[in-house]
């Protein structure tokens, strides 16, 4: 399959995409983030986790 060039989003754009998304996913391990182009680190229960949306 031909690889697609993912758009690089600014932090502001990422926050807007997450805000407009109904579904999110919490990823606890940073290594599992590779398949997501939009993610934001947040702190939940004292731990850094990543909020992602699937584009």
């Amino acid at each position: 399959m031909e690889s697609q060039i993912e758009k690089e989003y600014t932090t502001e754009e990422k926050l807007k995409i997450i805000s407009n998304s109904r579904y999110i996913k919490i990823i606890k391990n940073k290594e599992n983030l590779k398949q997501y182009s939009v993610y934001i680190p947040i702190k939940r229960n004292g731990q850094i986790v990543y909020v992602v949306v699937e584009k």
């Binding site: 502001e12 807007k16 997450i18 579904y23 999110i24 934001i40 947040i42 229960n45």
Partner: protein
């Protein structure tokens, strides 16, 4: 920065009140916007950009009347718009939301006016790798024993010089998740780097955190001090721990009580069987009604499971007793 038009108005403040009194999954929002007509010319309409689409939006003016607002496509038909908004509206990629608000009466020069935006918002839903049926029947998936937290995210952008006040309220029986709220901000930048994002120090915000609410304000000075471009507030709302423990104990009773039917089978006594059914019904009803207070999300499935187990055990034992089968 959020767009507004005409430029002669000054948006002074915005107070956003989020009310979680209807449970975990939804909240009612009342956003009060105060602005001043800084020009000498009377004002009959304004255009405001809003952060995102607002469900069931209703706009009330200062005098209590509901105001008419027109969405993006009506704005596209206007020829008198400034270039910046014109381009934004015509480019669907930008996904910006504007409201053209028709005021009930003209706002005179130097007059202040308030608009109230009422709308509903829903929790963020978490997608999960685990299939629903696996979650349902996997006793080891304790994390999902009950969905007990609803997560919310608020994106706050700013109109020029305004002061934004956030106030969130939840009723008795609910509480804020540990360590929340988590407040992020993006700095003014065109690139994506780890330096563009920061956690807002709650102590510097004068966050007023109480049992049933939290609130804070952000002024233009604060934004300049922290270099805030856009802000995101993450928080979870969950039932109070004692309510959660109570409901978990009740659920265990509902799921285990059908086994009591076996006693009537061993004793071969049909009256015990009906007594057990009565007790199980009381527990199932209590669990079902507990939803109104605890507002747990995944409550319903345990009520259903309790009913299925109770009905099945009752029918099997009844048939065995009537068939006079003894062990």
């Amino acid at each position: 920065m959020l767009f507004f038009y005409p430029n002669s108005i000054e948006i002074v403040s915005r107070r956003i009140y989020y009310d979680h009194s209807e449970g975990l999954l939804t909240r009612n929002v009342n956003e009060k916007i105060i602005f001043k007509n800084s020009s000498a010319k009377p004002l009959s309409e304004i255009i405001l950009e809003i952060e995102n689409f607002k469900t069931n939006l209703k706009i009330i003016g200062n005098d209590g009347n509901e105001l008419i607002f027109l969405p993006n496509y009506k704005l596209r038909e206007r020829a008198d718009l400034p270039q910046s908004i014109d381009t934004s509206i015509k480019d669907p990629e930008l996904k910006r939301n504007f409201l053209l608000i028709k005021l009930k009466r003209q706002i005179e020069g130097d007059e202040y006016y308030g608009l109230s935006l009422h709308y509903i918002e829903y929790t963020k839903e978490e997608t999960d790798m685990i299939e629903p049926y696996e979650r349902y029947f996997n006793p080891f998936e304790l994390e999902h024993f009950m969905y007990n937290e609803a997560m919310y995210m608020d994106l706050i952008e700013f109109y020029d010089r305004e002061t934004v006040t956030i106030f969130k309220h939840w009723g008795n029986g609910l509480s804020l998740s540990d360590g929340d709220p988590y407040i992020l901000y993006a700095k003014i930048s065109d690139t994506d780097s780890d330096d563009d994002i920061g956690e807002l120090d709650k102590s510097k915000l004068s966050l007023d955190l109480r049992k049933n609410s939290f609130s804070f304000s952000i002024t233009k000075n604060d934004r300049e001090r922290f270099n805030i471009n856009i802000m995101a507030i993450f928080y979870g709302i969950r039932p109070e721990k004692k309510e959660l423990s109570l409901i978990k104990a009740l659920t265990m009773f509902v799921l285990l009580l059908p086994l009591a039917d076996l006693i009537s089978f061993f004793l071969h006594n049909i009256s015990y069987l009906f007594d057990a059914l009565e007790t199980e019904s009381v527990f199932i009803l209590t669990l079902a009604f507990a939803q109104t207070r605890t507002r747990l999300l995944s409550h319903e499935k345990y009520v259903k499971l309790g009913l299925i187990l109770t009905g099945s055990f009752f029918m099997i034992v009844l048939i065995l007793i009537l068939a006079n089968i003894k062990i």
